[in-house]
Subunit: 161 residues, 2 copies
């Protein structure tokens, strides 16, 4: 679809979207996270076309989010999360929380998280990594950071992340 690339924007949100923003990518990440590691397994689970799955997996491997690992001494491969990819799962957990609150309806959440540290059914909450207090949309001011100027060339792309 002749998609515009976001990678030249001075915005970490846009750059993150360049990594996992394409259709199906977050769901592929989810599948790998929960233990589906093989092409046909993921394809069957999601129903995504094989062509697109190939493209997405390659992209995620190129970006260092997934690692392609041979198994079985045959041309067989499994996909595993890298550290970079594992940190992306934070995003999925927040999506899960929002989706539970706003789209699950009467039926309730399809999936529950049990926090191993405390043993309870729980969801993630966003907190300030300095003071530990809640930190959401209305709790922050945005300031230009060091990476702001570098890409700023007047071309119509603002940054807020």
């Amino acid at each position: 679809m002749q998609r515009t690339t976001f990678s030249d924007m001075a915005c970490s949100i846009a750059r993150t979207l360049d990594v996992i923003g394409e259709p199906w990518s977050p769901l592929i990440l989810r599948d790998v996270w929960v233990g589906m590691r093989r092409f046909d397994e993921i394809q069957g689970d999601l129903g995504v076309s094989r062509k697109v799955l190939t493209e997405r997996l390659n992209h995620l491997v190129d970006e260092g989010v997934l690692e392609r690992r041979p198994y079985d001494n045959r041309p067989r491969f499994e996909y595993h999360l890298t550290v970079k990819g594992t940190e992306l799962v934070d995003l999925l957990m927040v999506m899960k929380g929002w989706g539970d609150r706003w789209t699950a309806g009467e039926a309730g959440p399809p999936i529950l998280y049990r926090h191993r540290a405390c043993g309870r059914i729980a969801d993630v909450d966003l907190r300030c990594d300095h003071c530990g207090e809640p930190m959401h949309a209305g709790d922050v001011d945005l300031l230009p950071g060091p990476g702001m100027a570098v890409v700023a060339d007047g071309a119509g792309d603002a940054a807020a992340g």
Copy 2:
């Protein structure tokens, strides 16, 4: 591109993606969040085609993420975040954090958050909403929830969020 809808999957991640998963939608949300409220303003900032911007704004309004508000006693409209939309910004904040860590490079973050409660430059951290301890990809077990069975019809779509 004949995109498959995710809304019938028993997965809150998939459902969330049906709301803001389309190309440009997260960046539109970001723009509205930081105070860009008008069509031409957002269009100019992102460089998205007017057609797509129209579609996305309508979709976000339909989903209750944005509110379309007339101003100036003329056919002029502004877009504002609803509560539902404001909570989606959590997602953007997590994206910003990941993008800063993994894509910003030498230059550093283009944007910084100052947490109003403590006055410090900070980022969000994911914590358990019960015990307050860190809660990331490896810290949880997944259990089926009440909303799991409802949509389960054997069609190849698993759920993990």
